[in-house]
């Protein structure tokens, strides 16, 4: 099990107050901003930027980076690892 991805799911649920959703409900490759996935919106995108700084010490300054990084749990984890390496 990838601990980073599990932590990310818990952090997203808490930060976005996703009621009735557990980490097991979120597939690693589910599209976060798609109605077929979590159905997040633009305010959530801002919350995810705050989340990355709060929990991982990463500042997203380039909006284009965020677009790619916030596609799914997989891409978020990849982005965090890349920025920390």
């Amino acid at each position: 099990m990838d601990n980073l991805k599990e932590d990310l799911k818990k952090q997203i649920i808490e930060q976005l107050n996703l009621e009735d959703i557990t980490p097991t409900d979120i597939a690693d490759d589910a599209l976060l901003f798609d109605d077929g996935g979590l159905g997040l919106d633009s305010i959530d995108a801002l919350e995810l930027i705050v989340l990355l700084e709060k929990y991982h010490g990463i500042q997203v300054v380039n909006p284009e980076e965020g677009k790619v990084a916030f596609r799914s749990i997989d891409t978020m984890a990849e982005y965090i690892r890349k920025r920390k390496s």
Partner: protein
Amino acid sequence: MYYISAASTISHQPTFQNVGFSTHIEPLQETSVLLTPDYKGFIDAGLLRRMSKILRMSVACAKDCIGQAGIDQPDAIIVGTGLGCLLDTEKFLNNVLTIEGLLPPTSFIQSTHNTMAGQISLSIGNHGYNMTHTQNSISFENALLDAMLLLEEGERNVLIGAADEAIDFLNVISEKLHLQLQHSLTSGASFFILSKQKNDHALACVKDTQAIGLVNDVTGQIKDFLAGNEMKVQDLDLVLLPGTSHHSDGLPASLASLNLEENKCVDYLRFSGIYPTASAFAMHLAADKMKADKSLKNVLICNTLIQSNLGLTLLQSVEA
């Protein structure tokens, strides 16, 4: 004349979707809590997760009203609030004090006073007139006046309401100010559909309303208001008052010279608790009483919650 085609209240009383509640509610106990419905039945889960207490109450009441009135969309949405979205304001300010770096945006976005009207609009996809009035204890009366003016201009159905939410910090402030409150600080939301046309759902009519700030002569203003509607104090079948500063005869001291009959007076704060827009609760209470008791033809809501403000709303029965 403006017809109340629908009414919905969430409060510390069993008011929500409970026609006839006025006949069996009891004065609030200190331990009373806000009685809320299952909000998932009224609000999309995606919006609900971000909403604080005041937003949930407001949107649920608004949707309930629209359903009761049997309309697709109101022509306008008007909300009165004394203190606005306190929970989100408190949360945002705490974030400012405790978080270094980026601040979460949600509580900031939703801390503004006009968030209720905005969220109602988003929830029902309404693109009409959207207005929020905030004038402390007479916010509801100002919102009501706005609704009446819009109906005069040709709108058919206006969603008008008021909401305020209590947070623990209000109790801390009232203790530090040594306020001797006779009732608990509570939360509440009351919404109505006000229509120019009479329909089968009409509970009562709003004959007139007035909001006066920095008032000096309360009894004189009440007499003038009634005279403007060709009425006298003796014509009133019921007067709803906030019993915050009682005279020895049980009436607010400022109204003693009106010679109101005590058995015609009801202290609505005993049922609603104290919040700036409790007079909206009083309007629903009055309308519900008038629906149940046909002998009530003329009812005055006399909002003297704050000494310097006076809100007056005259209701008449649909048959009158």
